[in-house]
């Protein structure tokens, strides 16, 4: 099989796909309006689901009174936590993330403004909204916990007294996700310069053109067909089945066409309630966010606060890097635990740093639960790293290009999480970028390559 490594001849390199523009499978459908989004399926006899939501960020639920809502015109069913077979879930339970921490419908407490408490299914969307407004929830308002570092302080009030009863996700018994490589404290003590930085990123709503939603249609054989715009169709089907306590093969999910997702349609939000509504009423049930719901109660990217402390030598080499990061997961865990883990492996960026320590915290606050958004924790840390590289260059009075060439990773370098670097390309990318922008590089950087040192 040795000829597998033989370089391809020029003729063999005439790729059909690589380097060629390939029309999208959906292209013609998109320009004719023929692409079928979930909401474009014409389904007769639909009923509509809307939720009564928490008006406050943090509080104890004293009582839930749905009697007035039940009497409203057009109401077909009213659902509370008592109607959900398995009310508590964790989005990533299928890859071992535990414990279940989020209720489908709140029962004991509300932990963020807009948290659903009661679901109404009615003949029309407006009737469902009108009935939802009649739900009476008595709440004891509590002081909201809104800052990630405040939440991590010893003695901070625990917002979620169930599950691990901590204000942070527990990583295999630890309060943070940690990566340690070399002796960072010794290297910091020996460094010529210490460069520190604090970088923050606000939550961002994905704001897709098509709002989050689904239609659950009961079938004569007892199955439920769900037309959905989820980005995570298998996770969503499996979680829905677990929440409803039905076998997975009772659900048939049809999706794959997403009118803008960017990570915002990965959580399991609309499908379980729509299915429950369909089971209860025997009718197709649509649960689709209005634009206001999409902006106010659908998940944003988490806010991040990231601290960098780098030890740098006079010649520009970064010899130590200490990173402390806080992700605002909002009230529940959802996907942010994974975003922190992914960030832990990316916090050096495309640079070689021999001594490294990362501590990433997935913190619970009384904000809207957060979710992925284009990069699972990597985008915020990339922003922090590149700001930090510029800061190092300024501190040393060095050219920002130079500091990056000096510290660029090479094939064979061991990354902090013990992976050997393969296919490093930063040097070549910077050389190409310099050429494209007409930036003249010194000869020594033009001659560099990412191959092993």
């Amino acid at each position: 099989m040795s000829n597998q490594n033989k370089p391809l001849s020029k003729e063999e390199r005439q790729y059909k796909v690589v380097g060629q523009p390939v029309p999208s499978r959906l292209g013609l459908g998109n320009v004719t309006g023929g692409t079928v989004f979930f909401h474009d399926n014409v389904i007769p006899g639909k009923a509509y689901l809307k939720c009564a939501r928490s008006p406050i960020s943090h509080g104890n639920i004293i009582s839930i009174d749905t009697s007035a809502a039940e009497k409203m015109p057009g109401v077909l069913a009213v659902l509370t936590h008592k109607d959900v077979p398995k009310n508590y879930y964790a989005t990533l339970c299928l890859i071992g993330v535990e414990p279940d921490d989020e209720p489908v419908l709140a029962d004991k407490k509300v932990l963020y403004e807009g948290e659903p408490i009661v679901a109404i299914i009615a003949e029309t969307e407006m009737q469902a909204m009108a009935a939802a407004a009649k739900v009476k929830v008595e709440l004891e308002e509590l002081e909201p916990l809104l800052d990630v570092e405040e939440a991590m302080k010893p003695g901070a009030p625990i917002i979620k007294p169930w599950g691990t009863a901590t204000n942070y996700f527990v990583y295999e018994g630890h309060h943070c996700r940690r990566v340690v490589h070399g002796d960072v404290d010794k290297a910091l003590a020996e460094a010529d310069y210490i460069v520190e930085g604090k970088y923050e990123m606000s939550p961002i709503e994905h704001a897709p053109s098509e709002t989050t939603g689904c239609v659950a249609v009961p079938q004569p054989d007892g199955r439920i067909t769900v037309y959905t715009n989820t980005q995570a169709i298998y996770f969503t089907l499996d979680n829905t089945a677990l929440i409803l306590q039905v076998p997975f093969n009772k659900l048939h999910f049809i999706g794959g066409t997403v009118g803008g997702g960017f990570g915002g349609k990965c959580d399991v939000i609309v499908e379980p309630l729509a299915c429950l509504g369909a089971m209860r009423t025997g009718r197709p049930v649509e649960y689709k966010f209005s634009r206001e719901e999409e902006m106010r109660v659908s998940n944003p990217r988490s806010a991040w606060r990231i601290y960098y402390k780098d030890g740098v030598m006079k010649d520009g080499r970064i010899v130590a890097r200490k990173v402390t990061s806080y992700a605002d997961s909002g009230a529940y865990v959802r996907h942010t635990t994974y975003a922190v883990t992914k960030q832990a492996a990316s916090a050096c960026g495309p640079y070689f740093v021999p001594n490294f320590r990362y501590e990433g915290h997935c913190v619970y606050t009384n904000h809207m639960p957060s979710s992925p958004f284009r990069g699972f924790g990597v985008t915020p840390v990339s922003y922090a790293i590149e700001c930090q590289m510029d800061k190092i260059a300024r501190t040393l009075g060095m050219d920002p290009w130079e500091i990056r060439f000096i510290n660029a990773y090479h094939d064979g370098d061991e990354k902090p999480h013990k992976k050997k670097t393969e296919d490093a390309a930063l040097i070549e990318v910077m050389q190409a970028a310099a050429k494209m922008t007409g930036h003249e590089l010194p000869e020594k950087f033009k001659k560099m390559s990412s191959s092993a040192r």
Binding site: P21, N30, V31, G33, A207, S209, E210, G259, G260, R291
Partner: protein, 157 residues
């Protein structure tokens, strides 16, 4: 206000619908007439996804009461195809990768079709102005503008 019958011309064919109060053109098109090429984005006149033409002018069909189109000509994305052939603007969108998720695309095409009817060789500023009410969250504005420029560059008026 009670229900009435509204009659209008949709893509060259007369349609009659029973119009309850507060019914919008978008709901009639999508839910009563099955013309789902017109998309529902925000339902509050903010994104342009539901744009159709009434008497040649772009309108936000999610805000327009159906009674307002009585006796008028309405054109939707489905009406741009002639004899099974798509319009040159649609082809140019396709050839120039001017759609990503595709949800905003029909609205984009309708405003640009209206622009080309009035101004067959629009300037870049005119194209941008025409698109100013249409939101693309995949942020593919550049290829959309280029799709129009490339289409009109070849056709000297």
């Amino acid at each position: 206000m009670s229900a009435s019958i509204v009659s209008f011309e949709l893509n060259g064919k007369v349609e009659q619908v029973i119009a309850e109060p507060l019914l919008t053109l978008k709901t009639v098109l999508r839910d009563k007439l099955g013309k789902v090429g017109t998309k529902e984005g925000c339902n509050q006149g903010g994104c342009g996804a539901c744009t159709v033409l009434v008497e040649g002018e772009p309108v936000l069909s999610c805000l327009l009461p159906i009674q307002n189109v009585e006796g008028k000509k309405v054109l939707t994305i489905e009406g741009l195809q002639k004899n099974g052939k798509i319009h040159a603007l649609q082809q140019s969108f396709h050839d120039n990768f001017a759609s990503q998720c595709g949800h905003c695309t029909p609205g984009m095409i309708m405003v640009l079709y209206a622009l080309l009817q009035k101004s067959p060789k629009p300037s870049r500023d005119e194209i941008i102005m025409a698109l100013s009410g249409n939101h693309c969250r995949c942020t593919g504005y550049q290829p959309i503008i280029e799709a129009v420029e490339k289409l009109t560059a070849g056709s000297e008026v």
